[in-house]
């Protein structure tokens, strides 16, 4: 019922004054299933909000089509698209109380009074706002205001909910609780939700699937774990995960009959032998520029049999997190972060041997930035 289909969608802002024309969304395709929680994530300026606003009908579409529930909505007004939107800055009507805020759309649609009453009180009950329906937005906390904004969306009974960075104005604690509240709301309503954020933690924890965008293009669409474990390209690899994946630029070479990865550096270059599946992939790129990717948690502080490869390096910095310690190790050209499950304190400059689980490593083509399979 609430499926969304986006086909070769384009958004071009025409040149205005001194600003040249800006191609914000570059022909993206995206299929969102009915009832799915789809997260659009990416750095600012990647076109995620623009895409959402085009789905909402707040921005004109420069090219391509958007269909909601299998019918094209390109030329429909926002109110006729069966969508509801929650804005980053809540966008409540400050001169109306909460009830009026939530009932505004229904009143415009000339919904019968009892129906308005029922739907608003239902939404208020779901969100725990029943006691304060006569208050004005100014009398509410940030979390309550965002809840009202969500309530206003629920009242519309939309086919698709659109969220435009709804939590970024809340403080850290409120953000975590609203995050789980929206997730609960999704499992309760089972309505399609499209959620824009720049926060990869929100993306990972909330999304059924995540669409990673960059410079107006989709980099990868997948469920959170696929995105984490099988990034299609360097951008996704570096964007998802905190601390980010270690990326070492270098070259595949054959030394003494064995395939090795050699970091591109003047001195102290990381030098690791490649084996198994990784070696097969590397072989095709012998002599090419590649990027070796390894997650911080795939580096251990003790050997685990033949699966790990030792690496000697100097500690640059260590962050004690309590449950684990992030150790920044100096390599030839940069830094490698290791997430070690130890409470040991590391001294700056200390020489350390860590063990890399290279079976979990990724290889990327340095030129195309795509993963090597």
């Amino acid at each position: 019922m609430g499926s969304v289909s986006i086909q070769s969608l384009d958004k071009i802002y025409p040149a205005a004054g001194k600003n040249p024309a800006f191609h914000a969304v570059k022909g993206i395709d995206l299929e969102i299933q009915d009832g799915e929680f789809m997260v659009l994530v990416g750095p600012s300026g990647c076109g995620k909000s623009t895409t959402l606003r085009m789905i909402a009908g707040l921005e004109d579409i420069s090219g391509g089509t958007i269909s909601i529930d299998r019918s094209t909505v390109n030329d429909l007004l926002p109110k006729d698209r069966g969508i509801a939107m929650v804005f980053q800055n809540y966008a409540l009507y400050p001169h109306m109380n909460l009830f009026e805020n939530m009932a505004f759309g229904l009143k415009l649609a000339r919904t019968p009074k009892e129906e308005v009453m029922r739907r608003v009180t239902d939404a208020a009950r779901i969100l725990g706002l029943e006691q304060i329906l006569d208050r004005k937005p100014a009398a509410l906390s940030g979390g309550q205001r965002q809840r009202v904004a969500v309530g206003r969306a629920i009242v519309r009974d939309p086919k698709v909910f659109l969220f435009d960075e709804p939590l970024s104005n809340l403080d850290a604690k409120m953000r975590v609780s609203m995050r789980s509240e929206i997730s609960k709301l999704h499992s309760r309503l089972k309505t399609t939700m499209i959620y824009v954020t720049h926060d990869q933690v929100e993306a990972m924890t909330m999304g059924d699937r995540i669409c990673v965008m960059k410079d107006g293009r989709i980099m990868q669409v997948a469920d959170p774990l696929t995105l984490y474990h099988q990034p299609e390209n360097l951008f996704v690899a570096s964007f998802i995960g905190s601390p980010p994946m270690n990326l070492l630029r270098g070259r595949v070479e054959r030394r003494e009959g064995r395939l090795v990865f050699v970091e591109a550096a003047e001195s102290d270059a990381v030098f690791v032998p490649l084996a198994g599946a990784l070696a097969q992939r590397a072989e095709k790129n012998l002599g090419h520029e590649v990027v070796l990717g390894l997650r911080p948690e795939a580096i251990y502080d003790e050997a685990r049999g033949a699966d790990t490869t030792p690496l000697r390096a100097r500690v640059e910095l260590s962050e004690l997190m309590g449950s684990e310690t992030n150790v920044y190790l100096k390599t030839g050209a940069g830094t490698v972060i290791a997430r070690l499950h130890t409470e040991r304190r590391f001294a700056v400059g200390e020489e350390l041997v860590v063990y890399l689980a290279l079976a979990k490593a990724h290889l990327f083509d340095a030129k195309t930035e795509r993963v090597i399979r």
Partner: protein, 300 residues
């Protein structure tokens, strides 16, 4: 010197300065009130009219109440005002109110377009409005006169010597109000209106039901400023309005100052009278002037 002494000295100096400033502003105002309650039509006299000096003659004259005064032969006789001061008062009130209401309507919608819509020459038009308002409207007096005469040939109710005609000329000077209201609209996040659009509101509904109520403070300010400037406007009114019964208070008050005989008392009473509606309006609008009417709607 001790720090506390210096502080006290600074405080005293500041107070002396402020009180001096107050005296400077209030004295002319108090003098006008004094003159309006003083017997005779002299500009100079007792600052506080008491006893023999005190008289209500000017106020009675202005309000059209007959009063007794010594005639040329020394015998008291009843004097009845020959000038329709109260009618001027009503004219002023009418012109200023209607002009201000129309100005709100015009500048509000124009400001909305400038603040929210993107169209060709938008920037140029905004800037030229700013430049044009630098020239006082009085400079165009001759042109206004000729235009009104022309309009009067086709639409007599809007011609010379009519109040609609005068209001029409006032509607030409709204550039500054457009700028003021646009500035206020610019501070209101677009997302609130977008939200209304998703809720099903048309452009017009979003403007009337969302933006306007949130903008009440600026409209109150614009109404008051426009009212004040138009209720006391003299140059244009004095040219456009030619007969005594059409005059506004500002034009009528000038008529008390004859070449050979300055009737300061009546002039002062008229001046105070014209200030009353402004005061009343200000008190009435005060509740709209509270700041922070938009607070709570969005997170800044």
């Amino acid at each position: 010197m001790k720090a506390s002494t210096i502080r006290r000295l600074k405080l005293t100096l500041a107070h002396v300065f402020l009180v001096g400033f107050l005296v400077l502003t209030l004295t002319p105002f108090l003098m006008i009130i004094a003159i309006s309650f003083r017997r005779g039509d002299l500009a100079i006299g007792a600052l506080v009219p008491v006893g023999d000096n005190f008289s209500l003659e000017h106020w009675k004259y202005v309000l059209g109440i007959p009063y007794e005064a010594p005639g040329a032969d020394g015998q008291p006789r009843i004097i009845r005002a020959t000038t329709p001061v109260l009618l001027w008062f009503w004219n002023s009130l009418k012109v200023a109110t209607v002009a201000s209401a129309c100005i709100i309507l015009l500048s509000g919608t124009a400001a909305y377009a400038f603040a929210r819509m993107r169209f060709a020459l938008r920037g140029l038009l905004l800037k030229s409005l700013l430049v044009l308002q630098v020239f006082p409207m009085v400079l165009a007096l001759v042109a206004l006169y000729a235009l009104l005469q022309l309009i009067g040939d086709f639409l007599p109710p809007f011609g010379l010597n009519t109040h609609p005609g005068l209001i029409l000329t006032y509607l030409g000077g709204i550039a500054i109000y457009i700028w003021m209201i646009k500035g206020y609209f610019d501070t209101i996040p677009v997302s609130i209106e977008e939200s209304a659009k998703i809720d099903g509101a048309t452009h017009f509904q979003a403007f009337v039901r969302i933006l306007l109520p949130m903008s009440a403070p600026i409209f109150a300010v614009v109404f008051i400023l426009s009212f004040i400037s138009h209720i006391s406007e003299y140059p244009i009114a004095s040219v456009v309005l030619q007969t005594e019964r059409q005059w506004t208070l500002a034009v009528g008050a000038q008529s008390f100052l004859y070449e050979q005989n300055y009737l300061w008392g009546k002039f002062a009473a008229t001046a105070v009278l014209s200030g009353l509606p402004i005061t009343a309006l200000f008190l009435a609008c005060q509740r709209f002037l509270i700041s922070g009417l938009t607070s709570g709607g969005v997170k800044e």
